[in-house]
């Protein structure tokens, strides 16, 4: 469709405005051919404001424009016009002076027009890499990453993904750092730690989406059925899957709220999740705060019971996430975009409780979680046996919400500061914003038709205490028990 405003903005002779002389409509005398579709393509060139010539006198021929080209032109036009403060006379005078090519070059040197055009079009360019390797640890937190494979979410975006079962978090980190994994399932604190160089070489990592929220539990050995009050837990040995994990931080927060110092009153050990059940049976540990399905599995094996769901500590806490290196995202922006979209869709699909049973069946087999399907189903549906004789019904025992709140990152950073994992002054907001891509995720969510929060940070309520993200320093120092 011929549009006046979509004429070449780098051409001194075009007038991008609709003026008084333009009479919009067909076949009127002196009508402006702006919206005239009946003319020969060559005649589409609109006239200057002064020229009264008939429409059939093109100044410069322009090829037919499709939707993409129209979009490109709109972008160029908008930018150039903005440059000149929307003063058309100035623009044309300037262009006559310097020529369109010079202006275009000068513009390109300060503004990546291509990227802007691509962003504006909001459709992806060709994928740089279609074959991807994504690592996952076989726990229910990785559900979106895993089920996107058998349920076709990756394929929908043109990606051929191999989901690789990984032995543990350290290996996932190392394989990601070395580039053997393009992206990986990680614990939410891990991208922060890796970016800051805590516990590994420093490499900028980004976390565009959270995988699951809630979904963990504190499980105790059956012999502690009478010790439900954490004050009785002095001297207990607990297992967590990794140092930089929500499990570690939530456990510490929980026991600290009950007056125990997690570094001196209890022992916290790092144990790979699959070994936790065996360790519990052997009574090497008294309990653990672990990802599912290992809490439910302990109940299934009749050696433990579920003391508390982590959702009752902090409802909506992030757990695991999808992370990759910043380098990967920069070098393969289109692939990254497609991957993010696939995972956001998968996450949203998983969050719908109607799909949970189907998903449980898809991810239980040997190639994925390799757990009995009844155990996985109890975790995903929230209807489960708690090992104390009751059937509980907690539908959001585990939930899937991709939005990576900046304030989540800030909370994690305050806890890392609190327990001495990081020292010195921490620019909480800056690190959170660099690593947790809340804005991008929100945009993708909206683009795919889901609702997304408009802000990127909000306060949380953890065990009755409010976390104010605007003042993390005070929060980190506000605890009776801590190393900060």
């Amino acid at each position: 469709m011929p549009t006046k405003s979509l004429s070449d903005p780098f051409n001194a002779d075009t007038d991008l405005r609709h003026g008084r002389s333009c009479q919009h409509g067909h076949d009127g005398p002196g009508h402006c051919g702006c919206f005239d579709t009946h003319h020969h393509p060559h005649d589409r060139e609109p006239q200057g404001p002064i020229a009264q010539t008939q429409v059939g006198m093109p100044r410069t021929a322009e090829p037919a424009m499709d939707a993409d080209a129209a979009m490109d032109r709109a972008v160029e036009s908008a930018i150039v016009r903005a440059m000149f403060g929307h003063n058309e006379i100035d623009r044309r005078r300037f262009l006559k002076l310097l020529g369109g090519g010079t202006i275009a070059a000068a513009l390109a040197s300060v503004l990546p027009l291509d990227k802007v055009k691509a962003a504006a079009k909001d459709s992806l360019g060709p994928l740089e890499k279609t074959k991807l390797r994504i690592g996952f640890v076989p726990i229910t937190c990785a559900t979106p990453i895993i089920m996107a494979h058998p349920m076709g979410f990756y394929e929908r975006y043109g990606l051929d993904v191999d989901v690789i079962k990984t032995a543990g978090w350290a290996v996932a980190r190392d394989m990601s750092l070395s580039g053997q994994y393009d992206a990986a399932h990680m614990l939410s604190p891990m991208p922060l730690a890796i970016s800051m160089g805590a516990g590994s070489t420093a490499a900028p990592f980004i976390m565009p989406a959270v995988e699951n929220i809630n979904g963990q539990a504190i499980t105790l050995h059956n012999k502690h059925k009478d010790k439900r009050n954490p004050k009785d837990w002095k001297g207990f040995r607990f297992a967590v899957p990794f140092e930089y994990s929500m499990h570690n931080f939530l456990l510490r927060y929980y026991v600290a709220e009950h007056g125990l110092d997690p570094d001196t009153d209890i022992q916290i050990r790092v144990v790979p999740p699959p070994e936790m059940v065996a360790n519990l049976r052997a009574e090497n540990v008294d309990g653990y705060l672990a990802p599912d399905p290992f809490n439910q599995r302990a109940v299934w094996e009749q050696i433990g019971f579920i003391h508390m769901l982590t959702k009752d500590i902090w409802d909506g806490h992030p757990c695991c996430a999808f992370a990759c290196s910043r380098a990967f995202a920069d070098e393969n922006p289109n692939t990254f975009g497609a991957l993010l979209r696939a995972l956001v869709e998968a996450t949203q699909y998983s969050s719908d409780t109607a799909n949970r049973v189907e998903i449980a069946e898809a991810i239980s087999p040997r190639a994925y979680l390799n757990q009995p399907v009844q155990v996985v189903q109890q975790v995903l549906t929230g209807r489960y046996a708690d090992g104390l004789g009751n059937i509980q019904d907690v539908p959001d025992r585990i939930d899937f919400d991709p939005f990576p709140w900046h304030s989540m990152a800030i909370w994690i950073l305050t806890q890392m500061k609190r327990w001495g994992y990081i020292e010195g002054d921490v620019n909480y907001a800056q690190i959170a914003e660099q690593v947790y891509l809340a804005t991008e995720c929100g945009d993708v969510m909206r683009e795919l038709g889901f609702e997304a929060p408009t802000r990127t940070a909000k306060n949380f309520n953890i065990m009755g205490k409010v976390f104010d993200y605007t003042d993390p320093d005070t929060y980190a120092k506000s605890f009776a028990i801590g190393r900060a």
Binding site: P138, D162, V163, I164, K165, T166, A167, V171, D174, M175, S178, G179, Q180, P274, E275, V277, A278, R297, V299, W300, E301, Q302, P365, R366, A367, Y368, N370, Q371, P372, Q374, V375, Q378, Y384, A385, G387, G389, N390, I391
Partner: protein, 279 residues
């Protein structure tokens, strides 16, 4: 007489196996279901009562699992789920690569060290320090430097299995009888010819003993390395089944590991038959 000996040994062996399996079966036979003919309540279903528990499995369970695994050993259902045959092949491949590399380096180096007392003393401290380091300690370092997990595993096999071969070769070469060396000298054999026609055959039984020990270590290491890193291989298979607390699978895998280890050793035993001599 010899056949009588073999026969008696075989009888004792098999009886022993039957007794052990019998005791094992009796100790682990699945108990009668709670409630007998009643339907299980929903709670009980959720608690896994009635389903297979993961205590020590009975031999019958292991055997039935073994049969199902071995009936299609080479299936490939993606990167995380392959048949036991494929996994074993991956592991054996890595072992042969690492072990082969170790052979290529250990035997010539051992030769040189064995023939030169100066070099022997010079290299000895390094050998003694590096020899006792466990593969599990090498693994993180290898992963960090080499990054690729497959190459790291092969490197770890190499660095752990090279020592017995190196030491045995050096020892075998140094212990070649002077008489034989004198024979070579009086026959004006060049150093190279002496090395190949006198020293090598003389030291060969010792070298092969070193190789046998090394291949055993290499096989040990690969299972541990694969459990750490995952991906493919019998070690990964064990770890994967362990995640599911599927002990029948784990026991079956252990048996397969033992059998393959035995076969690898057997190959070298046959090889050593070729080079042995009576003095």
């Amino acid at each position: 007489m010899l056949s009588n000996l073999n026969l008696r040994a075989a009888i004792i062996s098999i009886s022993f196996l039957i007794v052990v399996l019998g005791l094992w079966q009796m100790a682990t036979a699945p108990q009668a279901l709670v409630g007998g003919t009643q339907e299980l309540t929903e709670y009980e279903l959720m608690m896994g009562i009635g389903a297979q528990t993961s205590g020590i499995p009975a031999p019958s369970q292991v055997i039935s699992h073994a049969i199902s695994e071995l009936s299609q050993p080479f299936y490939d259902a993606g990167p995380n789920d392959k048949g036991i045959g494929l996994q074993l092949l991956y592991s054996v491949g890595r072992v042969l690569a690492g072990f082969g590399l170790a052979v290529v380096i250990a035997i010539p180096l051992g030769f040189v060290i064995g023939m030169s007392p100066v070099l022997n003393k010079a290299f000895d401290p390094y050998i003694q320090v590096l020899k006792p380091i466990s593969p599990l300690a090498w693994m993180p370092l290898a992963l960090f430097i080499i990054k690729d997990s497959n190459t790291s595993a092969i490197f770890v096999i190499f660095i752990c299995s090279i020592w017995p071969m190196l030491i045995n070769t050096a020892f075998g070469v140094a212990a070649v009888r002077n008489d034989w060396l004198n024979v070579a000298r009086t026959l004006e054999l060049s150093k190279l010819r002496t090395a190949f026609t006198v020293i090598l055959p003389a030291a060969a039984p010792t070298i092969l003993t070193g190789m046998r020990i090394s291949v055993g270590i290499a096989w040990l290491v690969i299972v541990a390395a694969e459990m750490l890193v995952g991906g493919t291989g019998i070690g990964y298979y064990v770890w994967n089944e362990w995640n599911n607390l599927d002990l029948a699978s784990v026991i079956f895998a252990i048996l397969m590991i033992g059998i393959v280890g035995m076969l690898l050793d057997g190959v070298l035993v046959q090889a050593s038959r070729f080079v042995r001599y009576q003095d």
